[in-house]
């Protein structure tokens, strides 16, 4: 290496480390270390001072004498990849050099964040920021007292989410630190670690103390999912202090024998009787029923009837799907048939129930059962809501809202959300019912009646005005395809969709006359979920970069040509454009040598 090479490289490292050491401290075996220089391995005698100020660093107190695990950098990297960036920078520097203090080699095998204020991010970087569950409550996850056969975590890919048993449990003072830096009113919080956390939070020994601390910072509704085994009278009594509160109770069955056998619930009646206690305490709740194959359809039907009597906000029937690692891993063709049977039952019984009844994933029913898609149909009306009191009912088809014509369901949802956010106390909806037009005046009260949303100064998180409208494909998102194609001057476009969205997409491409009179071909392909989760999971949001790459390669082989452009919805990726494995979507383009564009759109998997 010449002197010039040495000088240039040394300067590069000096500048980098000076910047890095402003935001991190280096450590060895969880002990902070002092560093004031470095040397390049090929010039061991040339010790380079980093910065005069580094001499005066304080080590501070030793944080821990006991061994405490490092953070899972791969999990965090989906939401805050700059930490992994720092790790990689240090790795590459240490490949050619070593750190020193007063001329002596310093061993470094870790780093820690200096000032956590630097790491507070906004909803621009993580769309979930501001939500109490996502920012704080999910870190109260604790081992469940039940053991559901259909639990998603039984199918976690190796090394994903939980590297070892209970390694996902968050230290208490980490949670408290997160609360300290949480600013829900401005949607700011420390980086998240997961959006894939389905453990119980009510079992956490410090649930109430932490929840009360979070409550002091916000009046936003706490949205809590629970298996129900903790919902004793005493627990529900205590939960009242945390209002506004919304529970999703994963009841799964009202039959104690089935809860015992399928969920290994030792006290099944606690969850079963909790619904009437929640009703008594006027805590709004929804009921979730996972329609796993261990639960007979007849039993599911009986549970639906039973639950309807307890006045839930809504009932959702979850079509269970499993990764290839899950003990229940199923064949996708058999799963599709089974899911269709479940939906037929749901469609039949829906007419007999008072509560809105929804299937999740929400596009499944429309994809396989509705000839016309994206209709402005009201799926259900929450009891005692403004829509209910105005006389609206399930099956009504919205024609206009405050005189604005509604042509798609997503637009209706968006407009309702705008009206609610804008504080409009009264709106007028025209809807078609049995071929006749009706006009409804929906009036919001200062305090609504139960079960709609009996809280002052807090908005319901689901279904403004009580109208249950499911997600659908937004036509404005579809029109974006044309704009993107024009920007890239592409003539042959490959759009990677999903099984559930493709039919709606094809319909919109036709009805919106996309690329009419233009010499452009649009191909729509559905990637197979095989490289990460696998199994019978058909939701497109769970595809990874490798799935997309494989799909494009297969298309190229079949068609003996390359597309000019690949378009993918943004929904499988975080705001930092990373998939479930933490891989950045840009790698699709880098590996294939074909331009890839993301089309920004909303997730339509969930209910709200």
């Amino acid at each position: 290496m010449t002197k010039i090479d040495y000088e240039t490289t040394a300067k590069l490292i000096e500048n980098q480390m000076t910047s890095l050491l402003k935001i991190i401290d280096l450590e060895n075996n969880r002990k902070k270390v002092k560093v004031d220089g470095f040397r390049i391995k090929y010039f061991p005698s040339n010790n380079r001072r980093l910065n005069e100020r580094m001499k005066n660093q304080s080590l501070g107190k030793v944080m821990d004498k006991k061994k405490i695990g490092y953070q899972d950098i791969e999990a965090i990297c989906r939401f805050e990849p700059r930490i992994k960036f720092i790790q990689k920078q240090l790795q590459s520097i240490l490949k050619i050099g070593e750190f020193t203090f007063e001329g002596h080699h310093v061993f470094v095998n870790g780093f820690r964040l200096k000032n956590l204020r630097h790491w507070v991010s906004t909803d621009g970087e993580d769309e979930n920021h501001g939500d109490p569950y996502s920012d704080i409550l999910q870190y109260l996850s604790w081992p469940c007292t039940t053991s559901c056969k259909f639990c998603l975590h039984k199918g976690d890919p190796p090394g994903y989410f939980s590297k070892s048993k209970y390694s996902w449990i968050t230290p208490l003072n980490e949670i408290e630190t997160r609360i300290k830096y949480w600013d829900p009113e401005n949607n700011q919080a420390l980086f998240n670690k997961s959006d894939y956390n389905f453990f119980e939070i009510l079992t956490h020994p410090h649930f109430f103390s932490i929840a009360m601390k979070a409550r002091k910072k916000t009046n936003r509704c706490f949205n809590i999912v629970t298996g129900g085994a903790q919902l004793t009278e005493s627990m529900i009594n205590s939960l009242e202090q945390l209002k506004p509160l919304f529970l999703i109770v994963s009841l799964n069955s009202h039959d104690p024998r089935i809860r015992q056998s399928v969920m290994r619930d030792k006290n099944p009646n606690i969850a079963i009787y909790s619904l009437s206690s929640l009703k008594k305490r006027k805590i709004p709740f929804a009921v979730s029923l996972t329609a796993c194959q261990e639960i007979p359809l007849e039993s599911l039907k009986e549970t639906l009837i039973h639950v309807d009597r307890t006045n839930p906000y809504f009932i959702r029937v979850v079509l269970d799907a499993y990764t290839k690692y899950h003990p229940i891993a199923l064949d996708i063709k058999k799963s599709l048939e089974r899911w269709k049977k479940i939906v037929r039952l749901v469609r039949d019984i829906r007419k007999k129930l008072q509560s809105p009844l929804i299937v999740q994933p929400v596009m499944f029913e429309e994809c396989f059962f509705d000839s016309k898609r994206n209709r402005t149909k009201v799926e259900g009306v929450i009891k005692n809501s403004p829509a209910y009191k105005a006389g609206m009912r399930a099956g009504d088809k919205i024609v206009s809202i405050n005189g604005i014509q509604i042509l798609s369901r997503p637009f209706a949802k968006y407009l309702l959300w705008l009206c609610a956010k804008g504080g409009m106390r009264e709106i007028e909806i025209t809807a078609k019912r049995q071929r006749q037009l009706f006009t409804f005046k929906l009036k919001k009260s200062y305090q609504e009646d139960y079960p709609y949303f009996p809280y002052k100064r807090s908005a319901p998180i689901f279904f403004p005005y009580g109208l249950v409208l499911l997600h659908g494909l937004n036509p404005f998102d579809v029109l974006e395809i044309e704009k993107i194609a024009e920007k890239f001057n592409a003539k042959k476009i490959l759009f990677l969709s999903s099984l559930l969205v493709k039919p709606s997409l094809k319909e919109y491409v036709r009805s919106l006359n996309l690329f009419k009179d233009k010499d452009v071909k649009l191909y729509i392909e559905v990637p197979i979920n095989r490289h990460f989760l696998g199994g019978d999971i058909i939701v497109g949001d769970l595809l990874v970069v490798d799935d997309f790459i494989a799909s494009v390669r297969e298309w190229i082989t079949r068609n003996s040509c390359k597309p000019d452009l690949v378009i993918i919805p943004s929904t499988p990726f975080t705001k930092w454009k990373r998939d479930l494995k933490g891989e950045v979507y840009k790698n699709i383009e880098r590996e294939l040598g074909i331009p890839v564009a993301l089309i920004e759109c909303a997730r339509i998997f969930n209910i709200n």
């Binding site: 490289t9 780093f111 930092w576």
Partner: protein, 86 residues
């Protein structure tokens, strides 16, 4: 409660620690350590940023050292076809 939990109520921030680990051998493309270091650094940067020129995003897949205008080094293994490859 361990010592870190006890300190929670005293206003001390939790310390987020990260293991350094080692560079994956499969990630090494060039046997010139200083070139490889720069390649790694640019590649790492591309995990969090995209570059732009006059407001338009530009994609890069390689780099040259300012002192050597003839050699282009690839950033990614799947498009490396130059003679400097290991």
């Amino acid at each position: 409660m361990n010592s870190r939990d006890k300190r929670a109520g005293n206003g001390h921030d939790f310390v987020f620690c990260f293991e350094l680990g080692n560079l994956n051998k499969e990630e090494i493309m060039y046997d010139k350590p200083l070139v490889e270091m720069i390649r790694q650094q640019i590649k790492n940067l591309l995990e969090v940023v995209s570059f732009a020129k006059k407001g338009e995003e530009v994609n890069i897949d390689g780099f040259k050292l300012l002192c050597d205008k003839n050699s282009i080094y690839s950033l990614f293994p799947w498009n490396a076809d130059n003679e400097q490859m290991k």
